[in-house]
Subunit: 217 residues, 2 copies
């Protein structure tokens, strides 16, 4: 019985996700679903990306958080449209919550809509929000074993950002193990090795995401 | 309907958790449910604790993982009973899975049973496994805003371990903000500031957990 219910939930989520995707495609808006553990650097990546690409593209953000609007507060200074979804205990966003808040955006005046999902390496990877693609962020301080131990997200992701590379010297993170594990679950996925606080490696990320935004317009 | 089903799941989980708790109490075994984000240091804490307390107490471990037995492999060298529960995509352990594996342990010859839950700061905090108490681990590299943004676990935890304090100099972690946020969600909870890799602050943790084990015998 539980399995059937779960299937119903996923089916209804998928139907709404398809609607959302059709709407965004028709408006030429690229929606990116950003997923990571708590504190891996999703908001800092958005800060950096708004700084660098805010003058080039019209950016919007949906902030998924269990409670509080702290991440949204950090992005206020970029003068972009931001909507917060508080899940009130819920461990992931779904396509229905996304669909409801899309009305708050002027989609004709948007090139890219970043969705910062709830900080969770597991549940969000199972829910299609209607995004163009999922983006995985993982930080070096979480250890090099994450692609092997939490394969779902890494399998689903269109790109992987390995953040906090500036902290590698102070940890036992093994880049070789990380890359070989990642290859096993997703052989072709592009990997960006970055430090959002120091700025390392971000140029390649800006180029990659810019290309994706331009193609989807 | 979803809410009703969820309540049924939680009710059934709670009933089984009570059974598990009664059984463990009758055998004098302290079960500790360890919860954190991926890579916050649950396994490293267990390694350290087995090293230090393995001669003093009879320790058992249940390793909850989505897939792989990597964490269990890391603990094999301590020659303690370990059972792995692979959730195959599931984002948390529940009391039924715990109940099923308890048969694999000789409970009369156990003082403490550590349960390493799936790496997830959200879902595991909602499921009683029949533990004596939950233990929260959070690492400095995840940022100082975690108690405010993910209050459920911090509210439920009997103790909080702040790990990776050796990395504070390389991050923007603010200890004052962290402690003030933690106080707001759980004013009385003991906080241990530790580094599992360097060994800092672990003495206080060993003393605290030893006392809990002795009391429950």
């Amino acid at each position: 019985m539980e399995i059937k219910i779960m299937k119903n939930i996923l089916d209804r989520n998928q139907n709404k996700a398809n609607e959302v995707r059709n709407l965004l495609t028709s408006k030429g808006v690229l929606m990116v679903n950003i997923i990571s553990s708590p504190g891996a650097g999703k908001t800092t990546l958005l800060e950096r990306t708004c700084e660098e690409l805010g003058g080039k593209f019209r950016i919007g953000v949906i902030e998924g958080d269990i409670t509080t609007d702290r991440d949204a507060q950090r992005l206020k200074k970029y003068d972009i449209p931001i909507v917060v979804i508080n899940t009130e205990g819920g461990c992931h966003l779904d396509s229905h919550s996304i669909s409801k808040v899309l009305d708050s955006f002027d989609l004709r005046n948007l090139d890219v809509l970043f969705v910062e999902n709830v900080g969770n390496l597991i549940c969000p990877s199972q829910f299609d929000l209607g995004e163009a693609f999922k983006l995985a962020i993982v930080s070096t301080t979480e250890g090099d074993d994450k692609p092997g131990k939490y394969p779902m997200l890494f399998r689903e992701a269109r790109a992987v950002l390995l953040n906090k590379i500036d902290l590698i010297p102070y940890t036992n993170f093994n880049s070789g193990s990380f890359k070989s594990d990642l290859k096993k679950v997703n052989a072709q996925v592009p990997l960006f090795e970055i430090s959002c606080t120091k700025g390392d490696g971000l140029k390649e990320w800006y180029e990659w995401i810019s290309e994706k935004i331009i193609i989807s317009r």
